[in-house]
C-alpha cells in the first residue's frame, strides 16, 4: 500500500490527518476486536463500504484495493479453513480484509506529508527522552518513497535475465539486487545531505 494518495475534496480528504488517523485507527481497532458474528461482520463491512463512498473512491476504488490484496486474502483464507471451522475462518479473513481496506483509505485520502506532520506532532513529546520525531517521520517517508525504486531494480534484474535467456536464480537475483540497493542507498544518503538533512 505505497503512496496511493488520490486528490479529492471529500469530507475524509478535508479531515485533518491526525484526527483521521485516530478515527480510522479506532475503527480498525473496533473491527479487529469486536465482530464475532456474521451480522456484526456485515455491519462492519457496510461501514467500510460507506467510508469508501464518503471518500469519493466509489465501489470501483474499493474493488481496486481489494484486488491488490486478494492473493494474500485467499492465502489466509485457505490456511484458516484448514485449521478452523468455516464460520471462524470467514470472520477472521473478512476482518483482515476490512482492516487492510481501512488502512488503504488513509493513504488514499491523505498526502504523505500531512500524515508525516501528524506523526511528527504526535511523537514530539517523546523528544524529552531523546526520540527524534522529525527523523522518524523522514524515515517513514523514505520507506514509502524507496520501495517502488527497489521493486523497479528487481524488475530490471529479471528483465536482464530474460534478455540473456537465463532464469533468475537465488544468487543471480539477490546479489545484484543487494548491490544495486546498497549503491542506491549511498546515492540517496548523499542527496539527503545535499538537500540539507544533516547526517
Amino acid at each position: 500500500m505505497i503512496s496511493l494518495y488520490r486528490p479529492g475534496n471529500s469530507p475524509l480528504h478535508r479531515l485533518p490527518a491526525g484526527r483521521k488517523l485516530l478515527l480510522i485507527g479506532a475503527l480498525i481497532l473496533a473491527i479487529s476486536i469486536y465482530p464475532h458474528t456474521l451480522w456484526t461482520l456485515g455491519a462492519s463491512a457496510a461501514i467500510v463500504v460507506a467510508a469508501f463512498l464518503i471518500a469519493g473512491q466509489g465501489l470501483r476504488g474499493l474493488w481496486r484495493q481489494t484486488r491488490v490484496v486478494l492473493p494474500l486474502i485467499v492465502f489466509t483464507a485457505v490456511f484458516q479453513l484448514i485449521f478452523l471451522p468455516w464460520m471462524s475462518a470467514t470472520i477472521t479473513t473478512v476482518r483482515i480484509l476490512l482492516v487492510i481496506l481501512l488502512a488503504a483509505l488513509i493513504s488514499l485520502t491523505t498526502q504523505t506529508s500531512a500524515m508525516l506532520d501528524a506523526i511528527e506532532r504526535a511523537l514530539t513529546p517523546l523528544s524529552r527522552i531523546g526520540v527524534r520525531a522529525d527523523r522518524i517521520a523522514l524515515l517513514l517517508a523514505l520507506t514509502i518513497t524507496v520501495i517502488p525504486v527497489i521493486i523497479s531494480f528487481a524488475r530490471d534484474i529479471i528483465t536482464a535475465h530474460r534478455a540473456r535467456g537465463v532464469r533468475p536464480g537465488p544468487r543471480t537475483f539477490v546479489v545484484p539486487l543487494l548491490v544495486q540497493t546498497m549503491r542506491f542507498a549511498d546515492e540517496l544518503g548523499e542527496a539527503l545531505n545535499a538537500r540539507g538533512v544533516r547526517s
Binding site: A141, S152, R195
Partner: protein, 228 residues
C-alpha cells in the same frame, strides 16, 4: 551576481587513492564548466562545493563559507543536481518532494504551498503535482530534481552531469533552466563539450589534478584533440 569559490592547495584522499591533489583556483564567473575523463577528480571537486566531500588538505571557501565548519550554511546557499534523478527524490509525490526542500528553512506553510505551485508551473509539472514521483519519466524526474533545488533560490547550483541520462528534448529543458537568470552561479560537470563551451570558464581535471582552466574554447579544443 556570482560569488567567489576559492580552493587553496586542496587535496582529497580516499584510502590509497588521491582523488584531488594540490588544487588551487579562484572562481568568480557565473557559468563554470568542469571537464575531464571519468575518475579525473571533477565530481570530487563538485562535491566539495556542497560539503559532501571535505578536504584532507588545504582550504575551500564557497561564497566566504568554510564547508568543513559550516556545512549546513553552505547547503542553504548551494543546491546540488546529481546525474541520477532517482536518488534525489525523497518524498513520494512530486509536490511533496519540491516542498521538502523548504522544510526547516522557516518558510510558513501557506507560502510553501504557493511557492511549490508556482515552481511546478515554471517547470511544466503542475499536472503531475500529486503523481508518484518515481513513476515520472527520466526527464521529468530530472526536471523535478532541478525544480526542488531552484525553489530554495540558491546562490550557487552544482550540477554533476545533469543531462547524462536525458533525451534531446529534456536535455534542452534542463539546460535552459540551468543557464537561466534564476541560477546566479552554476558549476556544471559535463562530458558534453558543446555545453562546456557555453560556460564563462572551463576547468579541466586529469588524474586528480587541475590541469588547466581558462577560456572555454581553448580548453575544450585541447581536450577534444587529446582524446579524439
Amino acid at each position: 551576481m556570482a560569488g567567489t569559490i576559492d580552493f587553496d592547495r586542496v587535496g582529497v584522499r580516499f584510502g590509497e587513492f588521491d582523488a584531488l591533489r594540490d588544487v588551487s583556483v579562484t572562481l568568480t564567473q557565473a557559468r563554470i564548466g568542469v571537464i575531464g575523463l571519468n575518475g579525473s577528480g571533477k565530481s570530487t571537486f563538485a562535491r566539495m562545493l556542497n560539503a559532501l566531500v571535505l578536504p584532507g588538505e588545504g582550504e575551500v571557501r564557497v561564497h566566504g563559507l568554510d564547508p568543513s565548519a559550516d556545512a549546513a550554511k553552505v547547503r542553504q546557499i548551494a543546491g546540488f543536481v546529481f546525474a541520477n534523478p532517482d536518488a534525489q527524490i525523497i518524498m513520494p509525490t512530486v509536490a511533496e518532494d519540491v516542498a521538502f526542500s523548504l522544510r526547516g528553512r522557516g518558510v510558513p506553510k501557506p507560502e510553501i504551498a504557493d511557492r511549490v505551485a508556482r515552481e511546478l508551473e515554471v517547470f511544466g509539472l503542475s499536472a503531475l503535482a500529486d503523481a508518484p514521483a518515481h513513476e515520472l519519466s527520466g526527464g521529468q524526474k530530472q526536471l523535478l530534481a532541478l525544480c526542488a533545488v531552484l525553489i530554495t533560490r540558491p546562490e550557487l547550483v552544482i550540477a554533476d552531469e545533469p543531462t547524462a541520462l536525458l533525451d534531446a528534448r529534456n536535455r534542452r529543458l534542463i539546460i535552459d533552466h540551468l543557464f537561466s537568470e534564476r541560477v546566479p552561479q552554476l558549476v556544471l560537470i559535463t562530458h558534453d563539450l558543446d555545453l562546456a563551451s557555453r560556460c564563462d570558464v572551463v576547468l579541466r581535471f586529469e588524474n586528480g589534478r587541475l590541469l588547466e582552466h581558462g577560456d572555454p574554447a581553448d580548453i575544450v579544443a585541447r581536450y577534444a584533440e587529446a582524446y579524439a
